[in-house]
Point group: C2
Chain length 208, copies 2
Protein backbone atom coordinates (compact mmCIF):
# COMPACT_ATOMS: atom_id res chain seq x y z
CA UNK A 1 0.00 0.00 0.00
CA UNK A 2 2.89 2.32 0.65
CA UNK A 3 4.63 1.48 -2.59
CA UNK A 4 1.83 2.79 -4.72
CA UNK A 5 2.66 4.19 -8.10
CA UNK A 6 3.41 7.84 -7.56
CA UNK A 7 3.14 8.54 -11.24
CA UNK A 8 -0.50 9.33 -11.61
CA UNK A 9 -0.02 11.43 -14.67
CA UNK A 10 -3.72 11.71 -15.07
CA UNK A 11 -3.70 14.18 -12.23
CA UNK A 12 -4.78 17.43 -13.72
CA UNK A 13 -3.18 20.53 -12.32
CA UNK A 14 -5.70 22.90 -10.87
CA UNK A 15 -5.24 25.79 -13.18
CA UNK A 16 -8.16 28.08 -13.63
CA UNK A 17 -6.85 30.09 -16.51
CA UNK A 18 -5.27 27.83 -19.07
CA UNK A 19 -6.35 24.37 -19.98
CA UNK A 20 -3.91 21.87 -21.37
CA UNK A 21 -6.54 19.48 -22.67
CA UNK A 22 -10.19 20.42 -22.53
CA UNK A 23 -12.37 18.30 -20.30
CA UNK A 24 -15.36 16.66 -21.70
CA UNK A 25 -18.35 18.96 -21.29
CA UNK A 26 -20.07 16.90 -18.61
CA UNK A 27 -16.81 16.45 -16.74
CA UNK A 28 -16.20 20.18 -16.74
CA UNK A 29 -19.68 20.79 -15.42
CA UNK A 30 -19.15 18.33 -12.62
CA UNK A 31 -15.79 19.79 -11.74
CA UNK A 32 -17.13 23.32 -11.57
CA UNK A 33 -20.07 22.23 -9.50
CA UNK A 34 -17.82 20.43 -7.01
CA UNK A 35 -15.70 23.54 -6.49
CA UNK A 36 -18.76 25.69 -6.10
CA UNK A 37 -20.41 23.39 -3.59
CA UNK A 38 -17.14 22.93 -1.70
CA UNK A 39 -16.67 26.68 -1.42
CA UNK A 40 -20.17 27.09 -0.04
CA UNK A 41 -19.84 24.24 2.43
CA UNK A 42 -16.40 25.27 3.63
CA UNK A 43 -17.68 28.76 4.20
CA UNK A 44 -20.73 27.58 6.05
CA UNK A 45 -19.55 24.62 8.07
CA UNK A 46 -15.83 25.13 8.39
CA UNK A 47 -13.07 23.01 6.99
CA UNK A 48 -14.13 19.71 8.54
CA UNK A 49 -16.80 18.92 5.99
CA UNK A 50 -16.83 15.34 4.80
CA UNK A 51 -15.82 15.06 1.17
CA UNK A 52 -18.60 12.56 0.63
CA UNK A 53 -21.20 15.15 1.57
CA UNK A 54 -19.65 17.63 -0.84
CA UNK A 55 -19.87 15.04 -3.59
CA UNK A 56 -23.44 14.25 -2.66
CA UNK A 57 -24.51 17.88 -2.67
CA UNK A 58 -22.80 18.37 -5.99
CA UNK A 59 -24.76 15.45 -7.38
CA UNK A 60 -21.72 13.30 -8.19
CA UNK A 61 -20.18 10.19 -6.72
CA UNK A 62 -17.20 10.32 -4.42
CA UNK A 63 -15.13 8.76 -7.17
CA UNK A 64 -15.72 11.72 -9.43
CA UNK A 65 -14.62 14.11 -6.73
CA UNK A 66 -11.40 12.20 -6.18
CA UNK A 67 -10.66 11.97 -9.88
CA UNK A 68 -10.69 15.73 -10.08
CA UNK A 69 -8.99 16.42 -6.78
CA UNK A 70 -6.57 13.79 -5.65
CA UNK A 71 -6.90 14.79 -2.03
CA UNK A 72 -8.71 17.11 0.32
CA UNK A 73 -5.80 19.50 0.00
CA UNK A 74 -6.06 19.64 -3.77
CA UNK A 75 -9.71 20.58 -3.45
CA UNK A 76 -8.87 23.27 -0.92
CA UNK A 77 -6.32 24.69 -3.29
CA UNK A 78 -8.82 24.83 -6.10
CA UNK A 79 -11.47 26.44 -3.94
CA UNK A 80 -9.18 29.19 -2.74
CA UNK A 81 -7.28 29.62 -5.99
CA UNK A 82 -9.19 32.71 -7.08
CA UNK A 83 -8.70 34.56 -3.85
CA UNK A 84 -5.08 33.55 -3.59
CA UNK A 85 -4.55 34.93 -7.05
CA UNK A 86 -5.55 38.35 -5.84
CA UNK A 87 -2.86 38.17 -3.20
CA UNK A 88 -0.10 36.93 -5.43
CA UNK A 89 -0.69 39.30 -8.29
CA UNK A 90 -0.54 42.12 -5.82
CA UNK A 91 3.22 41.79 -5.45
CA UNK A 92 4.11 43.65 -8.63
CA UNK A 93 1.73 46.44 -7.77
CA UNK A 94 3.17 46.92 -4.31
CA UNK A 95 6.63 46.88 -5.74
CA UNK A 96 5.80 49.71 -8.11
CA UNK A 97 4.74 51.93 -5.26
CA UNK A 98 7.09 50.95 -2.42
CA UNK A 99 10.70 50.12 -1.80
CA UNK A 100 11.39 46.36 -1.74
CA UNK A 101 11.49 46.03 2.03
CA UNK A 102 8.23 47.88 2.53
CA UNK A 103 6.70 45.99 -0.36
CA UNK A 104 7.67 42.67 1.17
CA UNK A 105 6.27 43.62 4.56
CA UNK A 106 3.08 44.87 2.97
CA UNK A 107 2.74 41.78 0.84
CA UNK A 108 3.26 39.48 3.80
CA UNK A 109 0.63 41.40 5.70
CA UNK A 110 -1.86 40.74 2.94
CA UNK A 111 -0.87 37.14 2.73
CA UNK A 112 -1.32 36.82 6.49
CA UNK A 113 -4.77 38.37 6.23
CA UNK A 114 -5.68 35.87 3.56
CA UNK A 115 -4.49 32.94 5.67
CA UNK A 116 -6.24 34.28 8.74
CA UNK A 117 -9.50 34.42 6.82
CA UNK A 118 -9.00 31.04 5.16
CA UNK A 119 -7.27 28.98 7.78
CA UNK A 120 -8.76 25.93 6.18
CA UNK A 121 -6.11 26.12 3.51
CA UNK A 122 -3.30 25.33 5.96
CA UNK A 123 -3.43 21.58 5.40
CA UNK A 124 -2.85 22.31 1.74
CA UNK A 125 0.27 24.24 2.66
CA UNK A 126 1.60 21.35 4.71
CA UNK A 127 0.80 18.94 1.93
CA UNK A 128 2.55 21.23 -0.55
CA UNK A 129 5.80 20.39 1.17
CA UNK A 130 5.31 16.66 0.86
CA UNK A 131 7.71 14.72 -1.38
CA UNK A 132 5.65 13.79 -4.40
CA UNK A 133 3.12 16.56 -4.47
CA UNK A 134 2.88 19.54 -6.74
CA UNK A 135 1.43 22.58 -5.12
CA UNK A 136 0.34 25.36 -7.40
CA UNK A 137 -0.36 27.43 -4.31
CA UNK A 138 3.21 27.17 -3.21
CA UNK A 139 4.51 27.87 -6.69
CA UNK A 140 2.42 31.01 -7.01
CA UNK A 141 3.38 32.30 -3.62
CA UNK A 142 7.02 31.68 -4.36
CA UNK A 143 6.72 33.50 -7.65
CA UNK A 144 5.19 36.50 -5.90
CA UNK A 145 7.88 36.55 -3.25
CA UNK A 146 10.55 36.11 -5.86
CA UNK A 147 9.43 39.25 -7.65
CA UNK A 148 10.04 41.27 -4.52
CA UNK A 149 13.18 39.45 -3.45
CA UNK A 150 14.85 39.99 -6.80
CA UNK A 151 14.08 43.68 -6.65
CA UNK A 152 15.42 43.86 -3.11
CA UNK A 153 18.62 42.12 -3.98
CA UNK A 154 19.16 44.40 -6.94
CA UNK A 155 18.57 47.49 -4.86
CA UNK A 156 21.02 46.23 -2.30
CA UNK A 157 18.47 46.14 0.49
CA UNK A 158 18.31 42.35 0.68
CA UNK A 159 21.07 39.84 1.10
CA UNK A 160 22.25 38.44 -2.20
CA UNK A 161 22.32 34.86 -0.96
CA UNK A 162 18.61 34.64 -0.34
CA UNK A 163 16.23 32.41 -2.26
CA UNK A 164 12.54 33.05 -2.62
CA UNK A 165 11.63 29.44 -2.02
CA UNK A 166 13.26 29.61 1.39
CA UNK A 167 11.19 32.64 2.28
CA UNK A 168 8.10 30.79 1.18
CA UNK A 169 8.98 27.88 3.42
CA UNK A 170 9.63 30.07 6.43
CA UNK A 171 6.50 32.11 5.87
CA UNK A 172 4.21 29.14 5.40
CA UNK A 173 5.95 27.40 8.27
CA UNK A 174 5.15 30.38 10.48
CA UNK A 175 1.49 30.05 9.61
CA UNK A 176 1.41 26.32 10.18
CA UNK A 177 3.28 26.50 13.45
CA UNK A 178 0.86 28.97 14.96
CA UNK A 179 -2.80 28.62 15.77
CA UNK A 180 -5.91 30.64 15.35
CA UNK A 181 -5.68 31.48 19.02
CA UNK A 182 -2.46 33.35 18.47
CA UNK A 183 -3.54 36.83 17.53
CA UNK A 184 -2.47 38.58 14.35
CA UNK A 185 0.29 40.35 16.24
CA UNK A 186 1.94 37.00 16.84
CA UNK A 187 2.04 36.29 13.13
CA UNK A 188 3.18 39.83 12.44
CA UNK A 189 6.10 39.34 14.79
CA UNK A 190 7.17 36.14 13.09
CA UNK A 191 6.88 37.62 9.61
CA UNK A 192 8.87 40.65 10.68
CA UNK A 193 11.61 38.38 11.95
CA UNK A 194 11.71 36.66 8.60
CA UNK A 195 12.00 39.92 6.72
CA UNK A 196 14.66 41.12 9.12
CA UNK A 197 16.68 38.05 8.28
CA UNK A 198 16.83 39.21 4.67
CA UNK A 199 18.00 42.72 5.28
CA UNK A 200 21.57 43.74 4.71
CA UNK A 201 21.17 46.49 7.26
CA UNK A 202 18.40 45.46 9.59
CA UNK A 203 19.07 47.87 12.42
CA UNK A 204 16.83 50.71 11.36
CA UNK A 205 13.54 48.86 11.19
CA UNK A 206 13.75 47.13 14.50
CA UNK A 207 11.30 48.44 16.97
CA UNK A 208 8.09 47.05 18.51
Amino acid sequence: MNAANAQTQDVRPEFTGEVQRPLRADAQRNRDRIIEVARAMFAESGDAVALESIAKDAGVGIGTLYRNFASREALLEAVYAVELEKVTTNAADLLSRLDPESALRAWMGRYADFIAAKRGILPALSAGAAPGRRSTTRARVTAAIDTIVVAGVQSGAFRADVIAVDITALTQGAFIATSRDDGPERIARLLNLIVDALLVNPGRTRAS
Copy 2:
Protein backbone atom coordinates in the same frame (compact mmCIF):
# COMPACT_ATOMS: atom_id res chain seq x y z
CA MET B 1 15.20 0.94 27.06
CA ASN B 2 16.38 -0.15 30.46
CA ALA B 3 15.41 2.85 32.51
CA ALA B 4 13.17 4.36 29.89
CA ASN B 5 10.00 3.64 31.78
CA ALA B 6 10.76 5.89 34.70
CA GLN B 7 10.93 8.76 32.28
CA THR B 8 7.56 8.38 30.69
CA GLN B 9 5.67 7.80 33.88
CA ASP B 10 4.70 11.36 34.59
CA VAL B 11 3.74 12.33 31.09
CA ARG B 12 0.05 12.04 31.66
CA PRO B 13 -2.15 13.26 28.82
CA GLU B 14 -4.12 15.85 30.71
CA PHE B 15 -2.70 17.95 33.45
CA THR B 16 -5.39 19.56 35.51
CA GLY B 17 -3.20 21.65 37.70
CA GLU B 18 -3.84 19.34 40.61
CA VAL B 19 -1.71 16.56 41.93
CA GLN B 20 -2.63 13.43 40.08
CA ARG B 21 -2.91 10.04 41.59
CA PRO B 22 -0.50 7.43 40.25
CA LEU B 23 -1.91 5.06 37.71
CA ARG B 24 -3.22 1.77 38.84
CA ALA B 25 -0.52 -0.85 38.56
CA ASP B 26 -2.07 -2.70 35.62
CA ALA B 27 -2.77 0.54 33.81
CA GLN B 28 0.84 1.63 34.20
CA ARG B 29 2.02 -1.69 32.83
CA ASN B 30 -0.21 -1.35 29.81
CA ARG B 31 0.85 2.21 29.18
CA ASP B 32 4.54 1.31 29.28
CA ARG B 33 4.02 -1.67 27.03
CA ILE B 34 2.18 0.45 24.47
CA ILE B 35 5.02 2.94 24.29
CA GLU B 36 7.58 0.20 24.00
CA VAL B 37 5.73 -1.61 21.23
CA ALA B 38 5.04 1.66 19.42
CA ARG B 39 8.70 2.58 19.50
CA ALA B 40 9.66 -0.79 18.05
CA MET B 41 7.02 -0.69 15.32
CA PHE B 42 7.72 2.90 14.34
CA ALA B 43 11.39 2.05 14.05
CA GLU B 44 10.72 -1.03 12.00
CA SER B 45 7.83 -0.09 9.75
CA GLY B 46 7.93 3.68 9.60
CA ASP B 47 5.39 6.12 10.90
CA ALA B 48 2.38 4.77 9.02
CA VAL B 49 1.71 1.90 11.39
CA ALA B 50 -1.94 1.41 12.26
CA LEU B 51 -2.63 2.19 15.88
CA GLU B 52 -4.79 -0.90 16.10
CA SER B 53 -1.84 -3.12 15.31
CA ILE B 54 0.19 -1.40 18.00
CA ALA B 55 -2.58 -2.05 20.48
CA LYS B 56 -2.84 -5.63 19.35
CA ASP B 57 0.88 -6.28 19.67
CA ALA B 58 0.86 -4.66 23.07
CA GLY B 59 -1.92 -7.01 24.09
CA VAL B 60 -4.47 -4.32 24.82
CA GLY B 61 -7.61 -3.10 23.13
CA ILE B 62 -7.66 -0.02 20.97
CA GLY B 63 -9.71 1.69 23.64
CA THR B 64 -6.90 1.38 26.13
CA LEU B 65 -4.45 2.90 23.71
CA TYR B 66 -6.69 5.88 23.11
CA ARG B 67 -7.34 6.39 26.80
CA ASN B 68 -3.62 6.83 27.34
CA PHE B 69 -2.85 8.75 24.18
CA ALA B 70 -5.63 10.89 22.90
CA SER B 71 -4.28 10.89 19.37
CA ARG B 72 -1.56 9.49 17.18
CA GLU B 73 0.44 12.62 17.82
CA ALA B 74 0.28 12.20 21.58
CA LEU B 75 1.66 8.69 21.20
CA LEU B 76 4.44 9.94 18.96
CA GLU B 77 5.35 12.53 21.54
CA ALA B 78 5.56 9.92 24.27
CA VAL B 79 7.63 7.57 22.13
CA TYR B 80 10.19 10.19 21.24
CA ALA B 81 10.17 11.93 24.61
CA VAL B 82 13.35 10.27 25.85
CA GLU B 83 15.37 11.06 22.77
CA LEU B 84 14.05 14.58 22.58
CA GLU B 85 15.12 15.05 26.17
CA LYS B 86 18.69 14.40 25.16
CA VAL B 87 18.47 17.21 22.64
CA THR B 88 16.81 19.72 24.92
CA THR B 89 19.05 19.15 27.92
CA ASN B 90 22.00 19.69 25.63
CA ALA B 91 21.35 23.41 25.46
CA ALA B 92 22.90 24.26 28.80
CA ASP B 93 25.95 22.18 28.00
CA LEU B 94 26.51 23.87 24.66
CA LEU B 95 26.07 27.24 26.28
CA SER B 96 28.80 26.51 28.78
CA ARG B 97 31.29 25.84 26.02
CA LEU B 98 30.28 28.25 23.28
CA ASP B 99 29.13 31.81 22.80
CA PRO B 100 25.34 32.17 22.52
CA GLU B 101 25.26 32.47 18.75
CA SER B 102 27.42 29.43 18.20
CA ALA B 103 25.50 27.56 20.86
CA LEU B 104 22.22 28.32 19.16
CA ARG B 105 23.52 27.23 15.78
CA ALA B 106 24.96 24.07 17.26
CA TRP B 107 21.79 23.32 19.15
CA MET B 108 19.65 23.83 16.08
CA GLY B 109 21.93 21.51 14.18
CA ARG B 110 21.33 18.80 16.73
CA TYR B 111 17.64 19.44 16.74
CA ALA B 112 17.62 19.20 12.96
CA ASP B 113 19.46 15.90 13.13
CA PHE B 114 16.90 14.61 15.57
CA ILE B 115 14.02 15.65 13.32
CA ALA B 116 15.70 14.21 10.25
CA ALA B 117 16.05 10.88 12.01
CA LYS B 118 12.54 10.96 13.45
CA ARG B 119 10.50 12.62 10.77
CA GLY B 120 7.53 10.75 12.08
CA ILE B 121 7.28 13.25 14.90
CA LEU B 122 6.38 16.10 12.54
CA PRO B 123 2.63 15.57 12.78
CA ALA B 124 3.03 15.98 16.52
CA LEU B 125 4.70 19.32 15.93
CA SER B 126 1.85 20.48 13.73
CA ALA B 127 -0.67 19.29 16.29
CA GLY B 128 1.25 21.07 19.01
CA ALA B 129 0.26 24.34 17.42
CA ALA B 130 -3.44 23.51 17.40
CA PRO B 131 -5.74 25.59 19.60
CA GLY B 132 -6.71 23.25 22.38
CA ARG B 133 -3.69 21.01 22.57
CA ARG B 134 -0.89 20.98 25.07
CA SER B 135 2.40 19.87 23.63
CA THR B 136 5.09 18.88 26.06
CA THR B 137 7.43 18.59 23.12
CA ARG B 138 6.93 22.20 22.21
CA ALA B 139 7.26 23.32 25.81
CA ARG B 140 10.55 21.50 26.22
CA VAL B 141 11.99 22.78 23.00
CA THR B 142 10.99 26.31 23.89
CA ALA B 143 12.62 25.97 27.29
CA ALA B 144 15.85 24.83 25.67
CA ILE B 145 15.83 27.67 23.18
CA ASP B 146 14.98 30.13 25.90
CA THR B 147 18.08 29.18 27.82
CA ILE B 148 20.23 30.17 24.88
CA VAL B 149 18.19 33.20 23.86
CA VAL B 150 18.36 34.71 27.33
CA ALA B 151 22.11 34.26 27.39
CA GLY B 152 22.41 35.83 23.96
CA VAL B 153 20.31 38.82 24.89
CA GLN B 154 22.34 39.38 28.03
CA SER B 155 25.60 39.18 26.14
CA GLY B 156 24.28 41.68 23.63
CA ALA B 157 24.62 39.31 20.71
CA PHE B 158 20.87 38.83 20.24
CA ARG B 159 18.14 41.36 19.82
CA ALA B 160 16.43 42.19 23.08
CA ASP B 161 12.95 42.02 21.60
CA VAL B 162 13.12 38.37 20.74
CA ILE B 163 11.01 35.66 22.36
CA ALA B 164 11.96 32.02 22.57
CA VAL B 165 8.49 30.83 21.67
CA ASP B 166 8.73 32.69 18.36
CA ILE B 167 12.00 30.97 17.58
CA THR B 168 10.37 27.65 18.36
CA ALA B 169 7.54 28.41 16.00
CA LEU B 170 9.85 29.46 13.16
CA THR B 171 12.13 26.49 13.69
CA GLN B 172 9.38 23.91 13.82
CA GLY B 173 7.67 25.67 10.94
CA ALA B 174 10.83 25.30 8.90
CA PHE B 175 10.80 21.57 9.52
CA ILE B 176 7.14 21.18 8.71
CA ALA B 177 7.34 23.28 5.57
CA THR B 178 10.13 21.21 4.07
CA SER B 179 10.18 17.60 3.01
CA ARG B 180 12.47 14.67 3.38
CA ASP B 181 13.51 15.23 -0.20
CA ASP B 182 15.02 18.55 0.68
CA GLY B 183 18.51 17.73 1.77
CA PRO B 184 19.94 18.74 5.13
CA GLU B 185 21.55 21.77 3.54
CA ARG B 186 18.11 23.14 2.80
CA ILE B 187 17.16 22.93 6.47
CA ALA B 188 20.53 24.34 7.46
CA ARG B 189 19.90 27.35 5.23
CA LEU B 190 16.53 28.00 6.80
CA LEU B 191 17.81 27.62 10.34
CA ASN B 192 20.71 29.95 9.59
CA LEU B 193 18.25 32.54 8.34
CA ILE B 194 16.34 32.27 11.58
CA VAL B 195 19.44 32.73 13.68
CA ASP B 196 20.54 35.65 11.51
CA ALA B 197 17.25 37.33 12.27
CA LEU B 198 18.15 37.33 15.96
CA LEU B 199 21.56 38.84 15.66
CA VAL B 200 22.17 42.45 16.52
CA ASN B 201 25.10 42.50 14.13
CA PRO B 202 24.51 39.79 11.57
CA GLY B 203 27.03 40.94 9.01
CA ARG B 204 29.98 38.92 10.10
CA THR B 205 28.44 35.48 9.89
CA ARG B 206 26.99 35.88 6.47
CA ALA B 207 28.91 33.95 3.94
CA SER B 208 27.77 31.10 1.65
